[in-house]
Symmetry: C2
Subunit: 482 residues, 2 copies
């Protein structure tokens, strides 16, 4: 008997850890194939954030080992030379859902404070073991070792084991090791593709993966040139809502409204502050902490209706740059033609963003019936849910490639990179980007720009081939006339 019952409504609250544990599929941990893929991804992305955001040329080793292949138990280990994690933060960084150093307006791969905890949780729910973390922060004299779990009920980290020892060299970095039930066989191709695409977008990184079969794939560093790291910026008034304003006021030390506007926001100097306050019908000397709901609303309305703000500062962004994109595409795909462009900064809803597009054509690229799209958001390769991504809409559905002399099947790879302080992902699994009109437009313009260069190249090539033919035809007759 199933012993099903009808009960009165049972009301209860749930913590964030239990919520994401119960709904792990929305974070990309829906089945053993996705889970092992996502685990590699989350660890690699953390390692890249811990290195390149701090201008350390990344050196990352990923190892997937078969612990018990019959039961599909694997161990994923990722090693980096990043900044490490302070020992008082490490248990939270790995054992508390929604804990992060990336909750700031600055372009990083991470943003939700969720990724590695999902992997830790998945490991503990399928294999039952804690995650092993070894870390030495930059400048620290010690190396620290933790075993960490997430307490699903309380969202507190559990640390069944820890230790530390003095270090001799100046190594710094982090090593994370998670045992989980995964389907390596099915995930294999995607994981290797993920590493390859990561290497393309980060040619300044040295990335190695060692598979359970003992195969080692290495993408050596191609350059020491690195993108300028992102800087943290103040919020832009256009992105502010009533709740955000309330939070800023809570934290601010400003004594007057005018001071608040000038010190806490981008693009507001004394003059703009006066104009805004006048529009909102508010006295400049008001104490910000005393604002009523209606006054908060009036100020936000003034922010939204003011036309003359400078666009959000692009300083929190760290695009790759056309040169590095070309290096990445060339070295990995070996095409006959490569071109790339980095657009000027743009913005949606107060968030700055930059679109970059690269095209690789011919050479060792196999012909396909459609353009092959390499999607990236904040330098993360996105491999799932392609058809629901804004970049696919442009590259696969809007652009008429025949206008650019490309006729399919063709050996065409299009790389689209969206860099933003707030990538509008469709879900916390970070697999596809929403159709924000401003972003769509920038992608279209960027693709068109690069595609025009491809067209010039293909036109020239066509002419040369015709010429070649003529020469050959001519040559045939040369001996006779000679």
């Amino acid at each position: 008997m199933a012993q099903a019952v009808v009960r009165a409504e049972q009301y209860r609250g749930m913590g964030a850890a239990e919520f994401f544990y119960r709904n792990k599929e929305i974070a990309g941990f829906g089945n053993p194939t996705r889970a092992i893929y996502q685990t590699v991804r989350e660890l690699v992305e953390n390692s890249l954030d811990a290195t390149e955001v701090h201008k350390i040329p990344p050196k990352i080793v990923v190892q997937v080992e078969a612990v018990d292949p019959d039961k599909n138990i694997y161990r994923v280990t990722v090693d980096d030379n990043g900044i490490g994690i302070p020992p008082d933060k490490a248990p939270y960084a790995f054992g508390r859902v929604l804990y992060s150093s990336k909750y700031v307006a600055r372009q990083t791969r991470g943003m939700y404070g969720l990724g590695v905890k999902m992997a830790v949780l998945y490991g503990q729910m399928t294999v039952g073991k804690p995650t092993l973390v070894i870390t030495s922060p930059r400048g620290s004299k010690f190396t620290y070792r933790f075993k960490v779990k997430v307490n699903v009920k309380t969202n507190e980290p559990e640390v069944p084991e820890k230790g530390e020892w003095p270090k001799s060299g100046d190594w710094h970095g982090t090593r994370v090791s998670i045992e989980l039930v995964g389907d390596w066989r099915r995930a294999r191709t995607k994981i290797l593709e993920y590493i390859k695409r990561t290497a393309i977008i980060a040619p300044y990184a040295d990335i190695t993966i060692i598979t359970p079969e003992g195969i080692l794939v290495r993408y050596p560093r191609k350059t020491y040139e690195m993108p300028e790291p992102p800087k943290e910026a103040k919020p832009h008034p256009k992105g502010i809502d009533i709740e955000a304003l309330r939070q800023i006021i809570d934290k601010s030390k400003a004594k007057t409204l005018k001071q608040l506007l000038i010190t806490e926001f981008q693009s507001i100097g004394p003059k703009t502050a006066s104009v805004l306050l006048k529009r909102a019908g508010l006295e400049p000397d008001l104490n910000p902490k005393t604002l009523t709901d209606d006054q908060l609303k009036a100020l936000v309305d003034a922010f939204h209706s003011y036309e003359k703000f400078r666009p959000p500062s692009p300083e929190p962004l760290s695009p790759i740059g056309a040169e590095l994109i070309k290096i990445g595409l060339k070295s990995v795909l070996k095409p006959e033609f490569v071109e790339a462009v980095t657009r000027r900064p743009s913005a949606y809803g107060g968030h700055p963003f930059i679109v970059e597009v690269g095209i690789a054509y011919g050479g060792e690229i196999p012909p396909a019936d459609q353009p092959v799209l390499y999607r990236y958001a904040n330098k993360i390769p996105l491999l799932y849910d392609e058809k629901s991504d804004v970049a696919w809409k442009v590259v696969g559905e809007t652009i008429d490639w025949s206008n650019y002399k490309v006729s399919f099947p063709a050996p065409l790879v299009v790389l689209v990179h969206i860099a933003s302080t707030k990538v509008p992902y469709k879900g916390v699994g970070k697999e596809s980007v929403m159709e924000v009109p401003e972003i769509e437009r920038e992608i279209r313009l960027a693709v068109q720009e690069v595609a025009r260069k491809l067209k010039r190249y293909l036109t020239k090539k066509e002419k040369e081939e015709e010429l070649q033919k003529k020469v050959i035809t001519f040559m045939k007759y040369v001996p006779e006339v000679a």
Copy 2:
């Protein structure tokens, strides 16, 4: 100057309210168009859960009013005749993210404990006002009134106003009213379509919507026949992981392992319990609270490898039934042909599910180049992200409709309903369902089954038309021979 800075890593935790406030787009509140649509949806879905799950024939009135059309401020109000909310729970139900009466294994529209709070938050961040709730629980002698906000920092409800008064009649139900900045003009079509599709799937409901233009659209009740409400069931062993087992043990009063297995799980009687414990190498008399990690793992392994469990009980499910689907499709679409099927219960990963499919053809349905797909999950119409949904994969991409005598353009509507204790949505916005192989298979079989009936109908019709032609041809000659 943007005054951007490079700072040391700032580590911090975030509460669930702040997380969803900052990432509202993943819950369907990404812009003013989606936000007003989603607000209507979340309120209507709560009203339907509060009625039909308790076998109350729903009577629901949705009103959208323009408060300040220049600033796009609208008020969405939804009234129902449901079970109401106890006054001590109401502030949490509306003012705390991740609080619900639906965190149980039972088919309901709600499941995340998030929906109405996102609407409350969106209202308070765009207009700044609290949400107004008036509720009278079934059996209560009072009516209660609350104004509620979510404290974004603490995830505690804020109740700036409340009151209560004795009631005379036996009215029970809830009225929720939220002011928000929304784009009614753009959302209008989707909202009306949403209401229409809700009426199709719930012909036992009386649903009215009043638009800001003062237009009233009503879908009167077509029947008092209602689906059997879902019952709450115990967990099925196949769906259990180590963490779930740990939680069950924490809560259980069972003194021995054997008792635990028998009392806390579906499909385990004394005999099966003994077999499972033997496989796991565990003594039946062990106190469950003393299990080590390895012992927990061994028990879960035994659950997963045991072949002879009955499939999960379908009692927590509440499918609509083929008859009601036909009534719904007929009354709203006025087709010439309608057919429907409810498949037998199936399961994925320990969660029971049932697929239902209806087809409507011809009549007042306008011809289209593709089948028009009406997707539903736990009776919720899904209108966005169609192309990434498992149902679209089957109906739009896998089935060859020409096998069923349908040649496009054709007047064909296909309704697919997935009912489950755990619908594998791709995101908390509940817009599309993942491609779970078991679910995909059931959808395919169901569509094929109904499509065969359509084929028979179309074949018969063809023959009749031919006959008709012959009769007409014959008739022409009748007078002459007469």
